[in-house]
Amino acid sequence: MTTDPERSRRAGDLVTAAARGDDAAWKALVEQFSGLIWSVTRAYRLGSADAADVFQVTWLRLAEHIGRLDHPEHVGAWLATTARREAMRASRASARVVLTDDDAVFDAQEAGGETPEQAVLRSERADQLWRAFRTLPARCQLLLRLLMATPPPSYTEVAAALDRPVGSIGPTRARCLRLLREKLA
């Protein structure tokens, strides 16, 4: 992992530059953190309309707050926290969201013609891995789905997305990956 202080400094510089009107800095922030915000919408299993709303509102909030952040270097955690709160609002608001029964979504996708997902899953290993992932306990899927973001998020950002202590991330990750390995064995 890239060290947190290094990433934070860079992110803080981008926020400061974007607040001054630097388009390229905003673009760099979008490239750095879109994956993280999207992973929050996936981790909390929002439907596509809610996921789109949460993703967009999170970026609009940042645009509004860009010159007001107390700690520009913590923008990643700020975005993760904002996305989590909006995801919670959306899931409370929407009967479409089912937090525990993910198989229904999976099966529904399987019912139609071949989706891009199925095309990917024709690879045996990918199929095996995804199925094993989907049978992990909910809290493991939640954590791993965040860690699966591209580019990889920091533990601080993941902790913010979960509203959990940073110190809990490493041990939980190790436990969940071990469980996944057992399922694949």
Binding site: D23, S34, A52, Q56, V57, R89
Partner: protein, 159 residues
């Protein structure tokens, strides 16, 4: 200590799978880039009105029992001004009925993903916006120099 090579490899494999199965949709990346244009030029002068109440997220059991699920009540609070909005859905469109407290005449800009709708309040501080697109919105009120009130923008919220 918690970063065994096997763990890192498996996590990377999951990351590649997620990137192929559930990539960030291109149109949303574009929306994130476009969001920058909404950064208000007077951002540092405008006061941010925070969402103080959202019936969807904050309603208690009593409200659920009363049961008007179709209408959603939002309340944004700035110093000396509260903006109350009732949102109703009509298919994909949204109707917003608003009230400024204390009541006052003002131009209310409703900012949404496709543009801005400007509506004047009546003498009682009320305004109505029909056929708003579903999705994120934010309200903006211009400054009232005579009364020393700066511009007010509300947090973005999906309706």
């Amino acid at each position: 200590m918690d970063d065994e090579p096997d763990d890192a490899r498996l996590e990377e494999e999951l990351r590649e799978l997620a990137a192929r199965l559930e990539p960030v949709p291109d149109r949303l990346v574009q929306a994130a880039l476009d969001a920058y244009a909404w950064r208000t030029i007077d951002a540092e002068l405008a006061e941010l009105a925070e969402l103080a109440f959202d019936s969807l997220a904050d309603q208690d059991e009593a409200a659920l029992v009363r049961g008007h699920q179709q209408e959603r009540l939002l309340s944004f609070r700035a110093s000396g001004l509260t903006i109350e909005v009732e949102v109703t859905a009509a298919g994909p469109a949204r109707r917003m009925i608003g009230q400024l407290v204390p009541p006052q005449r003002a131009e209310v800009e409703i900012r949404h993903q496709d543009g801005v709708v400007t509506i004047a309040t009546d003498e009682f501080g009320r305004f109505v916006a029909d056929r708003m697109p579903a999705g994120p919105v934010s309200l903006r009120l211009g400054p009232v120099p005579g009364e020393g009130r700066s511009a007010v923008v509300t947090e973005w919220i999906p309706i």
